[in-house]
């Protein structure tokens, strides 16, 4: 079954992912007692089996990124037909690893939400990249609001909440400290007309813990305001 997933058989990406999902389910349901009774099974110890299942699970997570990338590229209006077809053919051909996906498809096509998915799945800590990616996603939402003549704070808030819900708890894709400060900056820099509490409230709606948000804002206070008070006393 696994061979079907990775070799260049004439299968769609969707079918490969279905085969991989089945392999993961089978591996998870394959109990220790079955392993003992199965003479053909090559994975011999429980720890081997756990490692094997974990590896399959991780490959499935990467495959889900690949599906998302394929979908995003199929919708990309800025690509010419020939380039798009070539990308989609290569994505259908076999399951790729996360580095190939990022460097050959996500990065060159500036797929920002998929960049966060890559950071989430790969467990890669890349503070500059995540900051830049969120800055662009926030600006995209603001531009959309501007074009549609709707409230930009509402649009940005709903975009952040929608994306963050997919990555909540992932410090690599949704770092609460970075996002809290970015939303504070956004609120301050855009006409200063934001409702008081807009940034922390958006973070709460996105699922961030109140203590984390408070820590971030209180740290800024201590650094920028509190320290001035101490200096004045001195």
């Amino acid at each position: 079954m696994l061979l079907f997933c990775f070799l260049r058989f004439n299968l769609s990406l969707q079918q490969r992912v279905e085969f991989l999902s089945l392999a993961v389910s089978n591996s998870k349901s394959f109990s220790h007692s079955q392993r003992k009774s199965s003479s053909n099974y090559t994975v011999s110890t429980p720890s081997d089996h756990v490692a094997f299942t974990t590896d399959l699970d991780e490959r499935l997570e990467v495959a889900k990124v690949q599906i998302e990338v394929q979908h995003a590229l199929s919708q990309d209006m800025e690509l010419d037909d020939q380039t798009k077809a070539e990308y989609l053919r290569r994505l259908n051909e076999t399951l790729l690893d996360i580095n190939e996906l990022y460097h050959n498809f996500v990065k060159p096509n500036q797929l920002y939400e998929q960049t966060l998915h890559v950071l989430h799945v790969s467990g890669q800590y890349a503070p500059e990249l995540v900051r830049e990616t969120w800055a662009i996603l926030i600006e995209e939402a603001r531009l959309e609001a501007e074009r549609a003549h709707v409230d930009e704070f509402e649009r940005v808030s709903s975009a952040v909440v929608d994306i963050a819900k997919r990555f909540i708890g992932s410090e690599n894709a949704f770092p609460v400290d970075v996002l809290t400060l970015m939303l504070q900056d956004f609120a301050f820099n855009h006409e200063k007309s934001s409702k008081a509490g807009w940034a922390p409230e958006t973070m709460l709606m996105a699922g961030a813990e109140v203590e984390q948000i408070f820590d971030v804002l209180d740290d800024v206070f201590e650094t920028k305001v509190g320290s001035n008070q101490s200096n004045q006393k001195d």
Partner: protein
Amino acid sequence: VKQKLILFLLFVSQQRSPWDTTTGQAFLLSDLSSLLSISISQGRITGGYNSHRSLSATSSFNSSQLQAQRVDNSISSYLVALNSLMAAPRGEPADIDLPRDRKMEVTVNTLRECQNFVKRHF
């Protein structure tokens, strides 16, 4: 569109932190007061004696809530800072450009209400 977004990124990276200005500080304090007010209205304040977050890791502290003692102490610091910002000797007030619900007087009132609530209930 993508090129415009890259230019925007360059622009953002060159911006100064707003929290270095007195207006930025008044703005930040209004958000802190709002966060505390929301936390109270959503029942996110809890009692106990952990007044600093470093203690929370070793206790059964729930990070979806704020410790009352810490909130009380923080509000006292914010009120001192606001008094200092409002007592600027010359020139325009720090919050002149800020919208009505972010004016320092509003922030002071919100913080006092939060502090009274915390003192009464914890």
